[in-house]
């Protein structure tokens, strides 16, 4: 099995775990990363604590990064995959770096792990993100928390905070009819982190449903209420207005108690923006010739039985490229994709499924 090579696109949690596993199995890996550092979106946006264990993100990511750095991987930083040529038993991949220089690499299989991008809340104009001061996204707050600079535009910690869930998720007006899965947990975690730093702060989470699913229910949702007294108000905020002294006034509805309209001022508003495929992964999908499913994510050949195999032979998928995922799920998929790719390059194993060929109902918006 000498000379088998696998291309891994993206060095987020999924790409890193796939790379590390393939190196452990003795397979050569070519790693392509768009940014100048390894770690993907969690590193890019400087994630603070990870749910549900509330441990620093670096505790999870740094061992993966170190493992990959020390495993002798051929790494192309600040580069993208420009095009892929199917050679029957393998692929010729052209990799373009920042200066526009193109390098060709021959590989036997590809793992696409280029991940997601956070929804850009400016697309929900009525929320005023980018226009009204003191409105942030959960992706901005992560950096503020990890750098310990949680302050309003006045330079003081916020005393009143509102978090609005489902921004860019479950919203047909922006074309995203799916749940982004992690924002409830992230928001709950952030609410607790804010209360840890500013114990007398009032934190309200405006929600439609709380989806701190699985083992996170009591660790996050219950705990945030019992130990931190985070308030949950059912109802989606319709718009934000700029108030006096750089406050933000929400206009909302308390659907639990239908007696009056809510017009409440806050020092800081956080929009729990969801997950999308993003331009980076769209470019990867186009370059590799991968199919997209109805929500715009990359379609696996069989979402239940073969979730890490793409519809194209020799190309595997891992992480949030196939849909919203937690970091631990992405790491697991990285391992799974590495195992599938290993079987493919050493024994030529490729499972077939006719699921993707069947007609898929398109979500009606």
């Amino acid at each position: 099995m000498a000379g088998e090579r696998v291309l891994v696109i993206g060095s987020g949690p999924a790409g890193l775990s796939a790379t590390k596993e393939l190196r452990n199995l003795g397979v050569d890996v070519v790693l392509v990363e768009r940014e100048s550092y390894l770690g993907g979106t969690p590193k890019k946006l400087k994630y603070s604590l990870l749910f549900p264990e509330l441990r620093p993100a670096s505790e999870v990511l740094d061992p993966l990064i170190k493992g990959v750095e020390s495993s002798g991987v051929k790494t192309y930083m600040e580069s993208i995959v420009e095009g892929v040529k199917d050679e029957g038993k393998g692929f010729t991949v052209s990799i373009k770096d920042k200066s526009g220089k193109i390098t060709n690499e021959k590989v036997n299989a590809i793992i696409a792990a280029s991940g997601f991008e956070h929804f850009d809340s400016r697309r929900k104009y009525e929320y005023g993100y980018g226009i009204i001061p003191n409105i942030y996204q959960i992706s901005d707050i992560e950096r503020m928390l990890s750098e310990n600079k949680l302050v309003t535009t006045k330079g003081v910690p916020p005393k009143r905070v509102a978090i609005l869930l489902c921004v860019g998720s479950r919203d047909a007006t922006v074309g995203n009819t799916y749940c982004s899965r992690v924002c409830c947990a992230v928001s709950t975690k952030q609410a607790m982190e804010i209360k840890e730093r500013v114990p007398d702060a009032v934190v309200h989470i405006y929600y439609m449903d709380i989806r701190t699913y699985g083992l996170m229910e009591d660790k996050l949702y219950w705990k945030s209420q019992l130990e931190y007294r985070v308030g949950y108000i059912r109802g989606r905020i319709s718009e934000f207005m700029r108030g006096p002294n750089d406050t933000v006034i929400i206009k909302g509805e308390d659907t639990m108690n239908l007696n009056r309209a809510l017009v409440v001022p806050y020092d800081m508003v956080i929009l729990a923006n969801g997950m999308e495929l993003g331009l980076g992964s769209k470019q990867v999908a186009k370059a590799l010739g991968l199919e997209l499913e109805e929500h715009g994510f990359v379609k696996p050949i069989d979402p239940d039985r073969l979730p890490v195999q793409s519809t194209k032979k020799g190309i595997f998928l891992a992480g949030a490229i196939t849909g919203p995922k937690t970091i631990s799920d992405s790491i697991t998929e990285g391992y799974a994709a590495a195992m599938k790719a290993y079987e493919y390059v050493t024994k030529g194993v490729w499972d077939e499924s006719d699921f993707a060929k069947k007609r898929v109902e398109v979500a009606h918006h």
Binding site: V202, H204, Y221, W222, Q225, L226, E227, R229, G231, Y232, I233, R234, D254, M256, N257, N259, R260, A261, L262, V263, V264, P265
Partner: protein
């Protein structure tokens, strides 16, 4: 222009001048008429904090608003405004105004404890509702409810009558408080059997608890104590 009576209660900060001339310009009339906001403009977190810090209300933070308590509630059939779920929600948000509006309902709990036994999160619903009501009473936000008035009358007669209730005194006090109405005809109907059976003696002079003089100070001491959580 005079303001219609109908609009007066929603207008604040009114300035009315019959004759004002500023810089040679005549400005008499009605000024500064703003509408009072009728929206919910803020929540008072201190309500939740204060209730959660009492012994009775400590479990309020566990509630997740599923409505199990209210759907099985004995009282709800009789009073559609009686909703433990809603009381807890309003208290946690600090919506005092809505709680005040519900003051004719919130005291009606009959302590059947169905809610407490069925709560999937272990909220001691009956106790929490009482602590919310106590909060409102303590801060003088609501008038004393009939339940509390009756409790006080009951206790008063017990303490006055040597550890036992006096039907006559309690009945009289209740009638005075407006809980019961009794006509002369009712009294006459009752008198016959009471006289015949000899129960009239007990009614006029009820027996006392043994060694009441020793028990009374103990009870009085116990009633003074206020329990505070650790």
């Amino acid at each position: 222009m005079p303001i219609p009576n109908l609009e007066k209660p929603i207008i604040k900060g009114l300035i009315q001048k019959d004759k004002v001339i500023v810089d040679g310009v005549e400005l008499d009339g009605t000024w500064n008429a703003f509408m009072i906001e009728r929206t919910q403009t803020g929540y008072d977190q201190s309500v939740w904090d204060e209730i959660a810090n009492t012994v009775e209300g400590a479990t309020i933070s566990l509630c997740w608003q599923c409505g199990t308590c209210t759907s099985g509630c004995t009282m709800r059939e009789y009073d559609p405004n009686y909703s433990p779920r809603r009381f807890i929600d309003l208290a946690r948000k600090g919506d005092k105004q809505s709680l005040i509006e519900l003051q004719d309902s919130i005291w009606r709990c009959v302590s059947c404890q169905k809610c407490t036994h069925r709560c999937p999160k272990g909220v001691l619903v009956e106790e929490v509702v009482h602590s919310i009501h106590n909060y409102l009473l303590k801060h003088g936000l609501v008038k004393t409810d009939p339940g509390t008035v009756f409790d006080e009358l009951f206790l008063e007669t017990v303490m006055k009558n040597g550890g036992r209730i006096s039907e006559l005194l309690l009945g009289g006090a209740s009638a005075k408080a407006g809980f019961v109405t009794m006509s002369l005809r009712d009294l006459l109907i009752m008198m016959g059997p009471l006289l015949k059976s000899g129960l009239i003696k007990d009614l006029m002079k009820p027996s006392r608890v043994k060694e009441w003089d020793r028990i009374k100070p103990v009870l009085e001491e116990a009633m003074k104590e206020e329990v505070t959580p650790e």
